[in-house]
């Protein structure tokens, strides 16, 4: 349990991003009656039970029916409500994909789609409950912002911005407590990556819950090899912060991307597509879940298996640096 070991001595621990989502939703609903949570028997896993008790007229339950979840949310948004459709990311982004494409994005109804327990958060429940396709599926749809906040600060900011967004937003959270990353860098906007650690030797671009192991790998590189890595929380997968990518690539350093997603069509491929069409020649490695039947196990065990971990990323960085 390497993550648990190191969090105690290096970074201040926060809550699960899902819990922060629920907390901010309650705060927003207090003063804004147009905030509506739409749930598909998912208020428990979405930590929205207290929200539902406090604001019974601001929660719409549709039962286990994700297509209807998103269609109803689109109708609510069309009528001026700030609708947050909350469902496990695996179901929301697959079962209701056509509703997302047509009723939300194409019809321009500014719903916030909240994918809870995303990636392999439901680890041992297996592939049915994993969302490792959501970036890829949604990147191929016009008119949606895709966000995977790394820590509690990013989550809070993302929820607040989504409530004000005139454009559809998809955000995904995991179940695990996340540390506060760079508390000195408290700026957040959609489409602008957040540098959580600065270094001059190598760059790691991460999103969501993989920013933390990226940060830990950077620490280990520094402690054990004197290598300094820049770590970016590329919380917005779309639109991608291409200004930041230009800046990161300009020194010619190797770039490692890491995500809790299939390698196919995710953050890494998005970065590669941009950078290499611009003529960059940086060494480049995408770390994610390969195109195979995903190994079974807990989230951490799956992360470790595929190198989405402190040690795995440490090793990948050393290979790229040829040390």
């Amino acid at each position: 349990m390497e993550l648990d070991k190191i969090e105690e001595k290096v970074l201040k621990m926060g809550k699960a991003n899902q819990e922060v989502f629920s907390q901010i939703m309650q705060e927003l609903a207090e003063t804004d009656r147009d905030i509506i949570a739409v749930t598909s028997d998912s208020r428990g896993s979405g930590k929205l039970v207290p929200f539902g008790e406090k604001y019974p007229f601001q929660i719409v339950e549709v039962g286990i029916a994700e297509q209807n979840l998103v269609g109803v949310a689109a109708g609510l948004a069309s009528a001026g409500k700030k609708a947050f459709a909350v469902s496990p990311a695996c179901f929301l982004s697959a079962r209701a994909l056509e509703q997302i494409k047509n009723d939300v994005c194409y019809s321009d109804n500014p719903v916030t789609l909240v994918g809870i327990s995303s990636g392999v958060s439901y680890g041992a429940l297996g592939t049915t409950h994993h969302s490792l396709h959501d970036y890829a599926a949604l990147r191929a749809i016009n008119n949606i912002i895709i966000v995977a906040p790394a820590d509690n600060f990013e989550t809070e900011q993302a929820v607040r911005l989504a409530a004000k967004s005139s454009k559809p937003v998809y955000m995904r959270f995991g179940k695990k407590a996340m540390p506060y990353l760079d508390e000195s860098n408290q700026t957040f906007e959609f489409g602008k990556g957040r540098i959580v650690r600065k270094g001059e030797d190598i760059t790691i671009i991460a999103s969501g819950e993989t920013v933390y192991p990226a940060w830990l790998a950077a620490q280990k590189l520094e402690d054990e090899n004197g290598i300094k890595a820049t770590v970016v929380s590329m919380h917005t997968i779309k639109p991608l912060d291409t200004d930041l990518l230009n800046q990161l690539a300009s020194n010619g350093n190797p770039i490692v991307t890491v995500e809790e997603h299939m390698v196919n069509g995710g953050l890494g491929e998005a970065c590669a597509s941009y950078l290499f069409q611009k003529g960059n020649t940086n060494k480049f490695k995408i770390v994610g879940i390969p195109d195979e039947y995903t190994v079974t196990g807990s989230q951490i065990e799956i992360f470790n298996h595929y190198g989405i971990s402190e040690n795995g990323l440490y090793k990948t960085c050393k290979e790229l640096l040829a040390i």
Binding site: V60, Q67, N68, G71, V72, L76, G80, A83
Partner: protein
């Protein structure tokens, strides 16, 4: 508008939708002809919508779930002054907003539809919002009977009942045919009245080509307080054109010049009889 003028309007709309399908060389002819009477009644007798101020928050909503029969909708909207009829000369042309399914780029269209089984869930959201805001406007959708097997409809039927959406009106254009043939042979959706009643809806059946019956049903809801309203409009696919009525190939058939002339002649004859 008198009842006689309303009947004449139905013939006029039939002529127009055929005209623009003929010009575009594309369209969903049979289904447009089966639902155009419903649209005529909706836009001329039922819906509180203003072409000059379409986005008024208190307007009635009409979302056409059977989006492929957009030609019936477009000619009705044009006739009500939502946009100049001549715009329809660009139907399905390069860069035109008048495409083969409803799009919000056209004044008067509420939602982009076309994929089936999408209209009703959106209407449920609209109807819940209206209830939450204590607004009295109504929400209408038009479903095709061929789209009933889409599971999302049944998810929405359940939720409309759960939320007691008596401000919601789903009209079924029950023309009994779809692209492959008769519904009963493709996927049987018979006993739809019993099914919907079992789902907690209040159901009425009307002759979908009888304007008075349509108006009476659509303007006299809710049929039962606390229940969503379901109107089964019994219709004929290709209604009004002898050689199209009940003939599956006219689902998206486009008339030849001779067939077009014949259709116009038949409609002119029908006009005289009104």
């Amino acid at each position: 508008m008198t009842n006689k003028e309303l009947k004449l309007k139905s013939v006029f709309l039939r002529k127009n939708l055929l005209k623009y399908i003929y010009i575009a060389k594309a369209g969903h002819t049979g289904g447009s002809l089966s639902c155009v009477d419903t649209l005529n009644v909706l836009y001329n007798r039922v819906l509180n919508v203003d072409p000059k101020n379409f986005k008024s928050p208190d307007r009635d909503r009409y979302i056409q779930s059977k989006g492929h029969c957009v030609e019936a909708l477009f000619v009705t909207l044009a006739d009500r002054g939502f946009f100049p009829e001549s715009d329809l000369e660009t139907l399905c042309k390069y860069q035109s907003h008048y495409i083969g399914h409803p799009t919000k780029k056209v004044n008067g269209v509420e939602q982009n539809t076309g994929a089936l089984g999408h209209g009703l869930p959106i209407c449920v959201g609209e109807a819940i919002a209206a209830k939450l805001d204590h607004k009295s406007h109504r929400i209408f959708t038009l479903l095709g009977d061929g789209e009933l097997p889409e599971g999302s409809n049944w998810e929405a039927f359940l939720s409309a009942s759960q939320y007691k959406l008596d401000n919601l009106y789903a009209i079924l254009d029950n023309n009994k045919q779809q692209i492959t043939g008769y519904n009963k042979d493709v996927m049987n959706t018979d006993s739809v009245r019993e099914k919907l009643e079992a789902f907690g809806w209040a159901v009425r059946e009307v002759d979908g080509h009888n304007l008075e019956e349509l108006e009476e049903a659509l303007n006299n809801g809710p049929f039962e307080a606390g229940k969503p309203n379901f109107i089964i409009a019994h219709t004929i696919k290709g209604k009004g054109i002898s050689y199209m009525e009940g003939v599956t190939k006219w689902h998206h058939g486009v008339p030849s010049p001779e067939q077009y002339e014949l259709a116009m002649t038949e409609l002119t004859e029908a006009e005289v009889l009104i």
